[in-house]
């Protein structure tokens, strides 16, 4: 598979075209805005908690396929995870897109998120993939300032 096909996998194209969990989350326990000033991508993440478990996560925003699909797949992956598990997922995801953890190994720990393995071949696009995650962390901490990738 060429690097390009690996980057734009069907799952990513599908989540870009039909993002899941898109829209406002009423009664959110946390929300935050993320911004990539280099390309103008903007994302808002909402989360609702039940104890220390993420009951629901939703997002809104405009961005490239990588950042939109990342936000969409992230909200799916976070649902039902404890905060510790979410933290682990983020660390694993970051490793996947930056250091290039083997995609096959990643499927075990990251599930569907492993489709982002192709990002590692494009260092300029790593920020697109991680913007939603950084914004999710800010939403958890109820940070008021907009998160930027810079």
């Amino acid at each position: 598979m060429s690097e390009l096909n690996e980057l734009y996998q069907q799952t990513i194209l599908d989540h870009n075209r039909n993002p899941r969990n898109y829209g406002v989350l009423e009664d959110a326990d946390g929300e935050a805005d993320g911004h990539n000033p280099l390309c103008g991508d903007k994302v808002r993440i909402y989360i609702a908690l039940e104890g220390d478990t993420i009951r629901s996560a939703r997002f809104e925003g405009v961005g490239c396929a990588i950042s939109t699909a990342s936000a969409s797949l992230m909200t799916e992956a976070l649902e039902g995870k404890t905060l510790d598990e979410a933290e682990e997922l983020f660390a694993g995801f970051q490793e996947l897109v930056t250091t290039g953890q083997d995609a096959m190994d990643a499927i075990e720990s990251l599930g569907k998120l492993a489709v982002f393995a192709g990002v590692r071949a494009y260092p300029m696009r790593v920020k697109c993939a991680t913007l939603a995650w950084h914004t999710f962390k800010a939403a958890l901490n109820q940070e008021t300032a907009t998160v930027t990738t810079e």
Binding site: E3, Y8, L13, N16, C39, G40, V62, C64
Partner: protein, 414 residues
């Protein structure tokens, strides 16, 4: 793919491409189609040689020591200034101040000319299509002086609305600073007319020429610009060197920009006497090698002829417009009647960033993003665009590669 235009070649493009080592590089295994010339241009071997030769045989500090190397360095530096004078048709070489680039040039004019002069209520006029570097320095002046920033609006094609500009001008207008050619849209602004109107209201007129000098002949006397700025690296020269042209009367009356060596005549702890322009604005050891290389770049462009370059680029721009019109997904952003060889566009299903990555995989280098012109993007209702920009060495093959790769974008994104 359609056949290349049958028109006779304007110059020997194969020979010219051979002058640029970077164009021979393979990108991801594919020949490079470099269409990001508005960001920066590649450098001809003649420019690279001058940098090397300078450090080998002329490296010394300027205007000081009496040894031969210092003499060569000083001559190289001042010869570049004289070449710049010819290039811009300035009246005097001393009207050409060496700076790091257009950004520093605007900051120099803003800080050394505008800041000490402007009062609360005074007005500075810029346009809706400015690069951030012709917005932020003036905002800083406004903050410091209480002056107010006014903006000439543009229409949906990306052309300034001259009636609105006229309505903005009044006795409080002190400075009008406008981009000659928009980096984001390619629009060529009617700067002579804009300057004439500014002068009628007693305002000083500055032009950001960063995207203009490589595409058209610029004559600062004919334009009657008070200040004109450009960068070497967008003109086939090195990074870190650029020019602020300023009319002698202005430069002479201005405060220094930075203090240090070179910009003084005498220094004591009681009183320092500043040097004459341009040296007054060139504190510290300057980018001597950069200046020498800028001269080589100007030589290259002038020997080819700016008019011939413009004709070549115009032909390619028309070819590109026609070729891209076959891809229904491609929508141009910026369709001014007067346009330089910049093609800004969006595609309905693919974000500019994704377009950029897919093109990159085919060796096609373009720019994606807001092009440091966020207000212009906002005005036209797009967060970002993809931008292909043509230089003197581009060919119809480069445009074909762009078009092929854009078809691939449409395939992937549907």
């Amino acid at each position: 793919m359609r056949a290349a235009p049958a028109n006779p070649p304007i110059y020997n493009i194969e020979k010219i491409r051979g002058d640029f080592p970077a164009l021979q590089e393979l990108m991801r295994g594919k020949p490079l189609a470099y269409l990001d010339n508005a960001a920066t241009t590649q450098k001809p071997q003649a420019v690279l040689d001058v940098i090397q030769n300078y450090y080998v045989s002329s490296n010394a500090n300027i205007h000081r020591a009496v040894h031969l190397l210092a003499q060569r360095a000083t001559e190289a530096y001042e010869s570049a200034r004289e070449k710049t004078r010819q290039f811009l048709n300035a009246e005097r070489a001393s009207e050409c101040v060496f700076v790091r680039g257009t950004t520093e040039a605007v900051n120099l004019a803003a800080n050394a000319y505008a800041r000490p002069r402007l009062k609360p209520g005074d007005e500075i006029v810029v346009s809706a299509m400015e690069h951030h570097s012709n917005i932020v320095p003036w905002q800083l002046v406004c903050q410091a002086t209480g002056a107010r920033l006014r903006v000439i609006p543009m229409n949906n094609r990306g052309e300034l609305i001259m009636e609105e500009y006229e309505a903005l001008l009044n006795e409080k207008t002190q400075i009008v600073s406008v981009v000659h050619v928009s980096n984001a849209l390619g629009t060529v602004n009617p700067v002579r007319e804009i300057g004439r109107m500014a002068h009628e209201h007693g305002a000083v007129f500055m032009v950001d020429g960063a995207q203009a000098v490589q595409h058209m002949r610029v004559d600062v006397q004919e334009l009657n610009a008070d200040f004109y700025a450009f960068s070497g690296h967008k003109l086939y020269g090195p990074t870190g060197i650029g020019i602020l042209y300023g009319k002698h009367e202005h430069l002479e009356s201005m405060e220094p920009y930075e203090g240090g060596g070179e910009m003084i005549l005498s220094v004591s702890f009681e009183k320092t006497t500043y040097n004459d322009p341009p040296h007054k604005f060139e504190a510290g050891t300057p980018n001597i090698a950069g200046a020498a290389a800028l001269e080589a770049a100007l030589d290259y462009v002038m020997s080819l002829g700016v008019e011939r370059i413009a004709a070549h680029e115009k032909r390619l721009l028309e070819y590109a417009h026609e070729t891209l019109s076959f891809n229904r997904r491609v929508q141009l952003v910026g369709t001014a009647a007067e346009k330089a060889s910049v093609i800004s566009f969006v595609m309905d299903s693919a974000h500019p960033h994704d377009i950029g990555t897919i093109l990159d995989s085919d060796g096609v280098a373009i720019r994606t993003g807001h092009h440091c012109a966020q207000p212009a993007m906002e005005r036209l209702g797009v967060p970002a665009t993809a931008r292909a920009s043509i230089g003197l060495y581009n060919t119809t093959e480069d445009i074909d590669a762009l078009a092929r790769s854009l078809n691939k974008v449409a395939e992937i994104f549907g």
